[in-house]
């Protein structure tokens, strides 16, 4: 038995909650689903190993004492993953500040809350490390199977990267709290997290577009300019890459540094975590006045609903940032488009799948907000408006949002290449309509503030939405390049949508 209030006691408590959360997330609380989940995970793992084989098999024979090109590519890829880990860790830390859950109970009890927060920071680091390891596992396994056991050191590198990302995320978020206050931190931290996650990818793409006229990130990492400016082989910068390639001493160093960072973060920030959580709780009490904009505007029920959806989205910077964040990834295509005005149309076909994919993802988010995320469901349902008109108004609100974002892209594209613009417009419409339809069939009443949980409320809907967007993007890419093979992913996308309809609760 562990003593109440001790570190071990809190650790056991946190572990139990985390385990039950994780099992619930996978099984949606149904014991019968456990077998199905295990089978699905095995199939997913096999599929990912195949993908990994196709992607990294060629690198398995890399020498233990690698050349500069290998070091640059491995380090660049690791930095890409680390940026995503840091982004995820910042999200977790922000959630820990703002989610009330059990904080009121803990902070009002006579135990030392710093111990709990020490455990929570460690748990966040563990979660990030485990998630990173889980995602990297197929690639490491393939490399180890083809290139030898030395590649297993990459597991240690990924875990160390996750731990270091969590430590830095705690420091960054607390720094934001102290500089801009709890009211703005929630939004800014989410935006910073997304920018960090996207910045490195986007930065490489921007460099690739400006230098080579392509969206490929690897082109930059393999360029002579980068190689010429890279430090020599003995630099500390290459330690993670060398560790991943099987150097035991570097692996030990990388692991020790990450653990030291985590220990420092816990020692410095855990005692203050409670204060910040209390400060975050006071945010909701702040009054926001709206400027009066004159009298009531007359509206039909459908127009009133559309206007309401857009107003709510516009006034919620957090939701806006969550839904529009993926549009950051449209920056490189926009740049490529701008560059193509002066240099011909040879690479414009690359834009079509990016636009189509982004439209599908954005439509899915907006559709969830409009259809499932209704904060006053009783009011809307008790209004003298038919269910058909209600849904129509909400779908119009979603499509209006999509049009605002994507019509400028389609018009700009049309000026250079009308055919590509037509393909992009059709792809955007198909992807947005598919994602909206899936959200409609799988709608579940929820609060808008639960937007982040939408992907766990129905995994079928999440996967169907993702697969249909990917398939429509592939259709767009092949159609833009003039290939009749575009029919195949198009049929697959229609099949995904039809399958989603078939098994949806709406059909049942």
């Amino acid at each position: 038995m562990t003593r109440s209030g001790s570190l071990a006691w809190f650790a056991r408590h946190e572990l139990r909650l985390a385990w039950r959360d994780w099992v619930y997330m996978l099984t949606a609380g149904e014991r019968r689903r456990r077998r199905t989940v295990v089978i699905a995970l095995v199939i997913f793992a096999l599929f990912m190993h195949l993908v990994a084989y196709a992607t990294v098999a060629a690198y398995a024979g890399a020498a233990r004492d690698p050349d500069r090109l290998t070091l640059v590519v491995v380090t660049g890829s690791a930095l890409l993953s680390w940026a995503l880990m840091l982004s995820q860790a910042m999200e977790s830390v922000t959630r820990a500040f703002y989610a009330r859950a059990d904080l009121d109970l803990i902070l009002s009890s006579p135990i030392r809350a710093r111990r709990l927060f020490a455990v929570r920071i460690a748990a966040m680091a563990l979660a990030i490390a485990l998630m990173g390891t889980f995602l990297a596992a197929p690639f490491i396994d393939v490399l180890a199977a083809l290139g030898g056991w030395r590649w297993l050191g990459a597991y240690g590198v990924v875990a160390a990267m996750g731990i270091a990302a969590a430590a830095l995320a705690v420091a960054l978020t607390v720094a934001l709290f102290r500089t801009i206050g709890p009211r703005r931190t929630r939004l800014i931290a989410q935006v910073v997290a997304a920018v960090i996650g996207a910045a490195f990818v986007i930065g490489l793409q921007v460099a690739a577009i400006l230098s080579y006229g392509t969206l490929s990130r690897i082109a930059v990492l393999q360029s002579a300019t980068v190689l010429a400016h890279a430090p020599d082989g003995g630099s500390i910068l290459w330690w993670p890459a060398r560790a991943a390639l099987g150097d035991g001493a570097d692996l030990a160093a990388v692991g020790a540094i990450s653990l030291a960072l985590l220990a420092a973060a816990i020692a410095v920030f855990a005692p203050r975590f409670g204060e910040h959580a209390i400060a975050a709780a006071g945010v909701a009490a702040t009054v926001t006045r709206q400027r009066s904009r004159g009298g009531f505007r007359g509206a039909s029920p459908r127009r009133a609903l559309r206007r309401k959806e857009w107003t709510l989205l516009r006034r919620d910077p957090w939701l806006l940032s969550q839904t529009l964040m993926q549009l950051l990834y449209l920056l490189p295509p926009a740049l490529l488009l701008w560059r193509s005005f002066g240099e011909g149309t040879h690479s414009l076909a690359l834009l079509v799948p990016v636009l189509v994919m982004a439209a599908g993802q954005l439509a899915g988010g907006l559709a969830w907000l409009a259809i499932s995320g209704e904060d006053a469901p009783d009011l809307v349902s008790s209004a003298p408006v038919s269910a058909r008109d209600l849904l129509r108004a909400k779908i119009e609100a979603v499509m209006g949002g999509i049009a605002i974002v994507f019509v400028p892209f389609a018009l700009a594209l049309a000026l250079i290449s009308p055919f590509d613009a037509l393909v992009a417009a059709l792809g955007i419409a198909a992807a947005a309509a598919s994602a909206t339809a899936i959200q409609l069939w799988f709608r579940v009443q929820a609060r808008r503030s639960h937007f982040r949980r939408r992907q766990t409320s129905s995994r079928v809907a999440t996967f169907a939405e993702a697969f249909s967007s990917i398939a429509w993007a592939a259709t767009g890419a092949l159609a833009a390049s003039g290939s009749w093979f575009a029919v195949l992913p198009g049929l697959f996308a229609l099949g995904v949508v039809a399958f989603a309809r078939l098994i949806s609760p709406a059909k049942a």
Partner: protein, 256 residues
């Protein structure tokens, strides 16, 4: 039966008429319920937890589909002509559901749009209601920082802005302070005086005792007693407070 001077000769006699209403979840929640409520009446529905009060009223408001039975609102078949019935009804639940990012005036503008009320008329009514409920200083503030009482008042204003003939309220006084509760009760009483019909569920028996023209007691999904307080006492065979009468009626039903 009360005489209602506001009723015309052609108007149906009942604001709400329910016949054989049934709804099953795991077990029967509403079990062949019959209920008639007169136009212009303040009717309070009492019952223990899980008796079927909220389920009944949600079916009347069109928020839940019954398994069988009929619901008529001022002579309109609420199941066949749901939109027409909703046009003259308002529903208010115990948990005020409003939009955090809208101000009270914007919320009322939205509700008026849903019910198709003329903009100028809706604005005049909205400003009256906001003033009446003491929300004037907060008319242009977003609702996100409002207390539960203020949110409930905004939701109540939303239920009144389209001037419904039948207002259905599920536990509207839960969690309100004494001042807010009095304001809500006053507003409801004034609406009844103006000819509106109010149906309300509550666990605060004192409120039912003081405000209701008639009280219905529901248990196990069925109406086990109804009438004025005096009539209920006679049915229970016991004099005393409504609390005593209510507990006796429910206990008798359990024994039966």
């Amino acid at each position: 039966m009360r005489d209602d001077p506001s009723m015309s000769q052609t108007e149906p006699p009942f604001a709400l008429e329910i016949r054989g209403l049934t709804k099953r979840f795991d077990r029967p929640a509403v079990d062949g319920l019959d209920l008639r409520i007169h136009a212009g009446e303040f009717y309070t529905l009492l019952g223990p937890n899980g008796a079927g009060k909220t389920t009944t009223l949600r079916m009347v408001a069109g928020l839940l589909q019954p398994d069988s039975g009929s619901i008529s609102v001022f002579g309109i078949d609420a199941l066949a002509e749901a939109t027409a019935a909703k046009q003259i009804m308002a529903w208010l639940s115990d948990e005020p559901m409003i939009y955090d990012k809208l101000t009270p005036l914007e919320y009322l503008e939205f509700v008026a749009g849903l019910w198709g009320v003329d903009a100028a008329l809706a604005e005049a009514r909205a400003r009256d209601l906001i003033a009446w409920l003491g929300l004037e200083p907060h008319g242009h503030e977003r609702c996100e920082a409002f207390s539960k009482g203020m949110r409930q008042k905004v939701a109540l204003a939303g239920a009144l802005v389209h001037e419904p003939r039948l207002i259905i309220l599920d536990e509207p006084l839960t969690g309100l302070d004494a001042g807010s509760a009095r304001q809500v009760k006053t507003v409801l009483r004034e609406r009844v005086c103006a000819g509106c019909t109010v149906i309300m569920t509550t666990h605060i028996l004192e409120v039912a005792e003081r405000m209701a023209d008639r009280i219905g007691v529901i248990a196990g999904g069925r109406l086990i007693a109804q009438g004025t307080l005096e009539e209920l006492r006679r049915q229970a065979g016991k004099s005393g407070s409504l609390e005593d009468t209510f507990l006796t009626l429910v206990a008798q039903e359990r024994v039966a």
